[in-house]
């Protein structure tokens, strides 16, 4: 069922001279979803987002929002708004003026402008900082202002290019829950670019994994994590092993591999690395066929019977947990 607010990419392509940054991708973002574009550096995430925003010309294909081809409209007339990686707050304007900028451009009168800006600052809990300059705000505060500024145009789609990467890890986690909450409240579509799979998992209703200018897999977060379709997705999402068995390639979550006594499992191997992760321990294992696997086991279980690098172990798993991979 398509709603009025669906955003559809139709054979969208971006070429920079010889390089093809985005290669005819096809995707439907349903209205009101929180979607994450996930992929390694240089895979074309930003290019895609910037084409949707209108900051990059479309080389081929179309972008359709609410039934209208917006590929050639100027950014402000698309019904999208963008939040930039470093927020791009105008350094010479106060917080309130930053937020009210688009109203000023539309020649909305001062009073109304002010009122609307304050309402949005309210939304992001920044009313107290209305008169400050961006340079006088912390990273998290800046981000909220950027959010308010993007939202004042009442966009149907908010586009976010790595909005959290400039924050320190602490703040990153706090801001991501705020983002998610806001999206729920507003009910509009968020398209969020990131290269952190944890971020994507935590935030997204739908994850779109890109690689090499194309979409590798798209679907609900849980589906993408639990049933990666390709080896790339399995590896990129992390927490997965790709095992080559005579029957084909399979993905299996690292925490679904059990480590047993040597020579008592489905595969034999020896430990090459141990990484303590707090609540769990990740063992890097080399199997007989020279495959590197990771097994994650709860720390209490590990420390109950510690294993040293070099020790031989057996590996076991529940066949149900294996997912066959394409290619």
């Amino acid at each position: 069922m398509r709603t009025e607010l669906d955003l559809e990419l139709v054979a969208l392509t971006k070429r920079y001279g010889e390089t093809v940054a985005v290669d005819g991708i096809q995707h439907l973002f349903r209205g009101g979803t929180y979607a994450c574009l996930l992929g390694p550096s240089g895979c074309g995430k930003s290019s895609t987002l910037r084409m949707i925003a209108g900051h990059e010309e479309v080389s081929d294909g179309a972008i359709v929002l609410a039934g209208q081809d917006i590929s050639h409209l100027p950014p402000a007339r698309r019904g999208t708004a963008m939040m930039f990686q470093n927020y791009a707050l105008f350094p010479h304007l106060s917080v309130a003026d930053n937020v009210a900028f688009s109203l000023k451009i539309k020649r909305v009168e001062r009073e109304t402008r002010r009122r609307r800006a304050m309402a949005l600052l309210e939304l992001v809990h920044m009313t107290d900082y209305a008169e400050r300059l961006p340079a006088q705000l912390s990273g998290g505060q800046q981000q909220r202002v950027a959010l308010a500024r993007a939202l004042i145009t009442d966009p149907q789609v908010l586009l976010l290019d790595e909005p959290l990467s400039a924050l320190d890890p602490f703040l990153r986690i706090r801001m991501r829950s705020e983002l998610k909450k806001l999206q729920r409240e507003l009910g509009i579509t968020f398209v969020h670019v990131t290269h952190g799979q944890d971020e994507a998992l935590a935030l997204a209703d739908e994850i779109v994994v890109m690689n090499d200018a194309v979409i590798e897999q798209a679907g609900p977060a849980r589906e993408v994590f639990n049933s990666p379709r390709t080896e790339f997705v399995a590896r990129f999402m992390g927490g997965h092993n790709v095992i080559a068995l005579p029957r084909g390639h399979f993905a299996i979550r690292a925490d679904q591999i059990a480590v047993t006594e040597a020579a008592s499992g489905k595969l034999d191997g020896h430990v090459t690395g141990i990484e303590y992760q707090g609540t769990s321990v990740a063992l890097t294992l080399m199997t007989a066929g020279d495959q590197e696997l990771t097994a994650i086991i709860p720390e209490d279980r590990y420390f109950a019977r510690p294993i040293q690098p070099g020790d031989g172990v057996g590996l076991n798993w529940d066949e149900d947990h294996l997912h066959a991979l394409n290619a």
């Binding site: 398509r2 139709v10 359709v64 209208q68 081809d69 050639h72």
Partner: protein
Amino acid sequence: MSAHPTTSPAAPGSLPGALLKNRHVSGWLLASPLGLVLAVFLLLPIAMIAIVSFWGATEFSIYPDFQWDNYAFLLSSPVTYKVFLNTFKYAVLTWIFTLGIGFTVAYFLAFHIRSLTWQIALFLLCTIPFWTSNIIRMISWIPFLGRNGIANSTLMSMGVIDAPLDWLLYSDFSVILAFVHLYTLFMVVPIFNSMMRIDRALIEAAYDAGATGFQTLTNVIIPLCKPGIMIGSIFVVTLVMGDFITVRFMSGSQSANVGRLISNDIALLQYPSAAATAVILLITVLMVIGILLRFVDIRKEL
């Protein structure tokens, strides 16, 4: 619902709009005032000089012609070569001194002054004399260096010398001194700029590797300052090669460089011969700059 609505009616697809979007067109529109000024006041004059260098002249006027006389006279006179040589001598000596002084000063400011405020303050202090008229700065050396000037009287009262040093003024020494005085700043600024962009961690890394201050200087700082040094050199060399007034004032008219040759000709209304000299000078300068530019991409270094 159609996934491909045809071009929306309001799309700014009108011809002027599309033209404005073309980066070549908008580029030229924006650059046109610049292009215009340079075309009228740079290219045209250069072309004019080139043309006039073939003209003839009487005592008081010039007339269109095509003759090689001006070049023939210029290139046949041994004095021309001497003067060009002299010009190069001034350029090279000034370059050496401004580079030495400029580099040291920039180095001190960039690496030994730790607070930004102080760096800016001291840097401004260096630039202030630059805001005074060059001619006044130049002639103010004369009471300082003269036979009875401050320098000589100080030295004599200190008993260092017992007769005034004549070579302080109206000599190559005073010419170079004035050049260095006028133009060192042009060396300090770009080198300082380069140095400020060197990551301090690189210095620490060198120090970590056991390098002494001097080894750090030669192995790390100087190679990384090359662009600044090149830009400063371009400034200094061109300014000195094109100068005509410093040499006149400070040598007491006793020495000549190409600029003076040209200005003398101009003063005597011998425009074609001035133009011929100018053409040769321009070619020389552009060649020198061309060589220097091979070592640095100015636009990237800003």
